[in-house]
């Protein structure tokens, strides 16, 4: 078990493609650390550098207190589960899972015990005598996870391990992986593009985009205090509403103005904003109140579309050129296309992002020093 640290790590392919730029983070011993980002953001490259499968172009990677840049995968004592499984085609499933133990010269007795116990946890007992070609995609992926978890490495690396599973198996496997992580006391680095996986499993999330680190924080930090527009839009389903807006001064002080008609109180930002500033206003779909008739502080809009998800209903409201999505619990049937709707953007829940820098503007009363 050990801490993992990236210090200003860069990965450059073929001298031109900058896959990872100046990435620094620390994953403490025992943490479940998720790297989250859209495809092509450099998350897999980072993992492969950690596993010793790619050279590190610049910077240092540390496992424990040792710089591992020059070490082979073998010397780093890491285990990895691959997105495309990486199973050994000519071995049975038992031998596949047993392989890392055999390499480390574990006695056969212990191997048998460990393999059977992990296979049981991952529902693989019936497949142990088969070869990988006889397995379904989901089973292969579980074998790959089993093989990574069967020995106690310093760091367990998982590259999108759930991407090929169906929804039910995926949510089941999420809890299995998290449970094994806690039970075995692993240090896990987990790459995914699925924010639900990251939010539900991780102690800490690193969000990357285009090779750059965007934010590191706990799931609630990245959800409630997104550091910039990218993170705000990436975390949360349905996506946060991000609306073009500008700051204007009227008799009551500074207001964020949307479509020239809606004025939202932004007094909580105090000195951090100024008259005439171009901002993006972010509001989560859950944080908008709606009503059939006019109430104090509500604005009028038109229903653009209603999407029912069973457990919740998403109503899109059109105001001028802007579409505002609202999420309400339950299966709502009392809203129809083209109906009038009254809504209120609750000022306490809004985020403002500086359009010039993309960074979040921090309210004056926010004691919490932003994640990072």
């Amino acid at each position: 078990m050990a801490d993992v640290e990236f210090r200003n790590v860069c990965k450059i392919y073929d001298k031109k493609v900058h896959a990872v730029e100046d990435l620094s983070f620390v994953c403490h011993n025992g943490e479940f650390f998720a790297i989250l980002g859209p495809s092509g953001c450099g998350k897999t490259s980072s993992l492969r550098m950690l596993a010793g499968l790619e050279d590190i172009s610049k910077g240092e990677v540390l496992i424990g207190d040792k710089v591992v840049n020059k070490m082979t995968s073998r010397e780093r004592n890491v285990a990895m589960s691959f997105e495309n499984y990486g199973l050994y085609p000519d071995f049975t499933i038992f031998d596949n899972i047993a392989y890392p133990l055999r390499i480390h010269k574990t006695p056969e007795e212990t191997i048998k015990k460990k393999v059977l116990s992990i296979a049981k946890k991952l529902h693989l007992l019936s497949t142990l005598d088969l070869k990988p070609s006889a397995l379904s995609g989901g089973q292969k992926q579980r074998v790959s996870i089993a093989r990574a978890l069967v020995r106690n490495p310093d760091v367990t690396i998982m590259d999108e391990p759930l991407s090929h599973l169906d929804a039910r198996m995926r949510s089941n496997m999420r809890s299995v992986i998290k449970h094994l992580h806690d039970q075995l006391g692993l240090t896990t680095i987990y790459v995914t593009h699925d924010q639900i996986e990251a939010m539900t499993m991780a102690d800490k999330i690193l969000i990357m985009n285009e090779g750059h680190k965007q934010q590191i924080g706990t799931p609630d930090e990245v959800y409630y205090y997104p550091v910039n527009i990218f993170v705000a839009g990436f975390i949360g389903t349905p996506q946060m509403n991000l609306i073009e807006s500008s700051i204007r001064k009227n008799e009551d002080g500074l207001k964020a103005v949307i479509e020239n008609t809606i004025f939202i109180d932004v007094s909580k930002y105090g000195e951090n904003i100024y008259d005439g500033m171009n901002v993006s206003l972010g509001i989560r779909p859950k944080d908008i109140a709606i009503s059939h008739k006019f109430e104090q502080g509500f604005e009028k809009g038109k229903i653009y579309v209603v999407e029912t998800l069973g457990e919740s209903t998403i109503i899109s409201i059109q105001i001028g050129n802007t579409i505002l999505r609202v999420e309400k619990d339950g299966y709502l049937t009392d809203w129809d296309f083209d109906d009038e709707i009254f809504f209120q953007i609750i000022p306490e829940h809004i985020h403002l992002f500086d359009n010039n820098t993309g960074m979040r503007i921090i309210p004056e009363d926010e004691n919490k020093n932003d994640a990072n």
Binding site: G52, L53, R74, A79, M80, F82, G86, P89, I103
Partner: protein, 314 residues
């Protein structure tokens, strides 16, 4: 109706190929078997002699001597070719630059006419002024009787075959290497396996299909070796380096005992088919996912065609 007509049309399209196949493969094969049961001197009448030719063949020490030569050449040459090719392919595959260039160079021995290769090596092996003995003398080995002593002459034949055909196996294996999936090898590396272990546990096993194709093709071809022997050693001294197919040629086209030669060819054909059955059974056992049957079937026809053609010519 329409469907039936198009079916007929398909059959008509296949017909020319089928006719050619019958004329140059099936007919010679049957003719070869019939001939092996007859006594036919060129120009004379054909007499049916029953199994006399086979009895002659089984009692013929020279034939079995040449058969032994053939088996030795086949086993040793193909084994050495495979090992050398595996080492070459493994290392070439790791190169970053120059792969294409090496692949082109590798094709050269196969592009050359076998007769040219034969004459080239005959000069190389020349015991008095050949470059090979000269080079060996530089490191203190002198006067190797490449062609004039039995034993060495067989070595000479094997060397030429290795030189000529190692690149072929290398190319097949190289293609195999390049189509290997990366993930198993990478995961083995992360699991802590060393390069040697990765090779024997994974790479070698994953390359078995390519290996079996290469070895089968080469074994069948080498079993019929003729041109190299004919030019480099002429089978000599005596019959010490003569291959079975060259002996069949001598019997048939030097002594004009076509019936006897045909019998020899049928025996060789049966041996090849027998070995092939064993290889097929082994292949089926070793890998279920392997779908190269078509290629091998083609090769089977090809070998039948060649052997019967040799008996047929003249």
């Amino acid at each position: 109706m329409d469907r039936k007509r198009t079916d007929k049309f398909k059959h008509i399209l296949v017909l020319p190929a089928l006719l050619i196949f019958v004329v140059i493969t099936i007919f010679p094969l049957i003719f070869n078997i019939v001939l092996s049961l007859c006594n036919w001197k060129l120009g004379g009448n054909i007499q049916f002699v029953g199994l006399d030719n086979y009895i002659y063949a089984f009692k013929n020490g020279t034939f079995w001597r040449t058969m032994l030569n053939t088996v030795i050449v086949t086993i040793v040459a193909v084994a050495v070719e495979y090992v050398v090719a595996m080492i070459l392919a493994y290392n070439i595959n790791k190169l970053i630059h120059g792969k294409k260039f090496i692949r082109i160079i590798m094709l050269l021995p196969m592009l050359m006419a076998p007769v040219v290769i034969g004459f080239m090596w005959k000069q190389m092996f020349n015991e008095l002024y050949g470059p090979l003995n000269h080079l060996l003398s530089l490191i203190g080995i002198s006067g190797i009787p490449w062609i004039s002593q039995s034993g060495w002459s067989l070595v000479a034949v094997i060397l030429v075959d290795i030189w000529e055909w190692t690149p072929f196996i290398t190319l097949i294996l190289l293609a195999g290497f390049q189509s290997l999936p990366k993930e198993p090898i990478e995961s083995a590396r992360v699991d802590g396996a060393g390069e040697g272990r990765i090779f024997f546990d994974l790479t070698f096993k994953m390359l078995l299909p390519s290996s079996i194709v290469a070895i089968t093709l080469r074994a069948i071809e080498t079993f019929k070796i003729f041109d190299t022997v004919y030019i480099v050693t002429a089978g000599g001294p005596g019959v010490s380096s003569m291959s079975a197919s060259m002996y069949a040629y001598q019997v048939g086209l030097r002594n004009f005992s076509l019936g006897k030669a045909a019998a020899l060819c049928v025996i060789m054909l049966i041996i090849v088919l027998g070995v092939f059955q064993i290889v097929t059974a082994f292949r089926k056992k070793s890998s279920k996912n392997y779908h190269k049957n078509d290629l091998i079937l083609e090769e089977e026809n090809f070998s039948v065609y060649n052997i019967s053609k040799e008996a047929e010519e003249g």
